[in-house]
Symmetry: C2
Subunit: 339 residues, 2 copies
DNA sequence: GTGAAAGCGCTAACAG
DNA sequence: CTGTTAGCGCTTTCAC
């Protein structure tokens, strides 16, 4: 349909080589040739085919990205940040939203492979055998962003989730709380499920506090599960003084539930979230949260990915750990020692 | 680097044609040949090159999509819905987040053109001359989703924004409000700026109510602008009884501001949003909003896009208008006639 | 400075 | 049923 480099060459009365040369801004071309070619390009409304070029160069300038759930604010924010640096580095983004389905994840991985993307960024953390095998055999670099990869042979860019949850819990303890509830994710998720729970549990242990099993529950990171789990807790005859959730969405769900039950937050109960997504600033009371450096997460992910693409020999001996930061807002309040 | 179809052919001791045939699941292949080829594929860990195939077929099975702002919940939800149907139809998504920059939009459009995507879905509504020219000369179908395209030669899938805003305003009026404030978007945006404002204005006019200029303001659809504009209003010596915002984010910003000023919503003032994104269910009080059928918007957009791709002759004589729906929650309350 | 020609990995006549 | 071959649109030696 559209004009090809051949058409341009013919029209300009030069060889395709020359056209290619001006297309790629090479030096040794005469002004005259340059003008002729540019005129022909203009007249034919020609645009070079990235496809043909990719085939020849064995390079697509495209990064595939596996997103667990586009509707999650945390994911879309990080995606936005990834897009920003990727675009600045000249990469295009092929996105696969897998809606928590490993089948779909595998399908997208295969598509990315077929598409010969230059690299794959994975934001998902639950793998099955097929997926692991794919990673194993993949012919392009794979990097895990905001989650831990399945082994140390893959580079991960993320925070120390264990430490972050530990710090958060310890903060709560040091401000006088003891009855600290925990709403976690799936323990099969190393990063946001297991590590965060573990951080909570170890901090409790360190301070000699036995977590009350009635107040340790697990959801799916999404808002409704926070609401549901909070409701269960409020059904008990005793309540925690603070609820620490492993995602902001669950924390907000818990908050909504508490509010709808007529509780005052933080007067009657404190709530703390995890991730630091936008929603924490939007709800009232604004949500205290253990914040991930989303911008940096996206930026570093793409930078390292680029590095791995350009330099296939690149080896690393540790993950890239970014700093977490507790952002205190209104949903948490110290518990008075004598209360 | 990886094996090519030639390698497979050699290994299996057959011709490349035969390999191509089993790859594409054609009928007339003997069981024996099929087995040989499959074994070779397995052994070489071969995956077909989508690139080469695209070049040959002049079809990429890829749709490019221009997103105004990934961090907006409305956008990412619609993107998610688009992804879902696209993936079901066998299309992959190349996403360009343009962060409200027309320059970046143009860059992405050109990239999409070079990449020879099969079609482009645009969710942005502000165009300059270069962009319009691009649309004009583009060699692939272009469809506008949730916004109105620049002319009737492009297909748009969207709600009737004018009517929706009109209905919303009339609903407010019929429940006793007269001092109805309006927080709009940029009037240069036909769809969500101008049309919604116009719907508001016409409904007021129809009922003989003169909008108070102090209570008609324009922001950028984002939360902070709603907050800021609400603050300005609260600085006046008289207040509206209800604020109607042209986006949920601005409505929530207004809500936050009102709450932070000690107002009770909806007792002291009602607030209504537009879009019906998730956030409306999350804030307290939950936000009444004029809802767009997001799922359907995404689904229909891809379906029509597919149709246009498959059938280049496809013509249409009108846009695809989907139904809006007012979802009443707690942030709005009728105004008593005698108050 | 410029051009001819080979080839990236695949599909599709066409021939057998 | 199976194989030969000519491109798809580009880059890149290697000559001139």
């Amino acid at each position: 349909m559209g004009a090809s480099i051949k058409d341009v060459a013919r029209r300009a009365g030069v060889s395709v080589t020359s056209v290619s040369r001006v297309l790629n801004g090479e030096k040794y071309v005469s002004q005259e040739l340059l003008d002729k070619v540019n005129r022909a390009i203009e007249e034919l409304n020609y645009t070079p085919s990235h496809i043909a070029r990719s085939l020849k160069m064995q390079k697509t300038n495209t990064i595939g990205i596996i997103v667990p759930d586009l509707t999650s604010q945390f994911c879309s924010t990080i995606l936005s940040s990834i897009e920003e640096t990727a675009s600045a580095q000249g990469y295009n983004l092929l996105v696969g939203n897998i809606a928590e389905s490993m089948e779909k994840e595998l399908r997208y991985l295969r598509v990315f492979q077929n598409m010969r993307v230059d690299g794959i960024i994975v934001m998902h953390q639950k793998f099955n055998q097929d997926i692991l095998e794919f990673f194993e055999h993949a012919s392009m670099p794979i990097l895990f962003s905001s989650v831990k990869g399945p082994s140390s042979s893959y580079l991960s860019v993320l925070i120390d989730d264990y430490q972050a949850a530990f710090d958060a819990t310890e903060h709560l303890i040091s401000s006088g709380h003891e009855k600290i509830a925990f709403i976690g994710g799936d323990l099969a998720d190393i990063t946001s499920g297991f590590s965060r729970y573990n951080g909570y549990a170890e901090a409790m242990k360190k301070h000699g506090i036995e977590p009350d099993p009635r107040f340790v529950k697990f959801g799916d990171y999404k808002l409704p599960s926070g609401r549901r789990l909070m409701k269960e807790m409020l059904g008990e005859d005793e309540w925690p003084t603070v609820v620490f959730a492993a995602s902001d969405d669950m924390a907000v769900g818990a908050l909504n539930c508490a509010l709808d039950h007529g509780l005052k937050v933080p007067e009657d109960m404190s709530i703390m979230g995890f991730d630091g997504s936008l929603i924490t600033e939007v709800v009232r009371p604004a949500m205290t949260s253990m914040q991930q450096p989303v911008e940096e997460l996206g930026k570093k992910s793409v930078e390292y990915m680029h590095h791995m693409i350009v330099n296939p020999e690149f080896t690393f001996d540790s993950d890239i750990i970014l700093q977490h930061r507790l952002v205190e807002r209104e949903s948490c309040r110290p518990r008075l020692a004598h209360a």
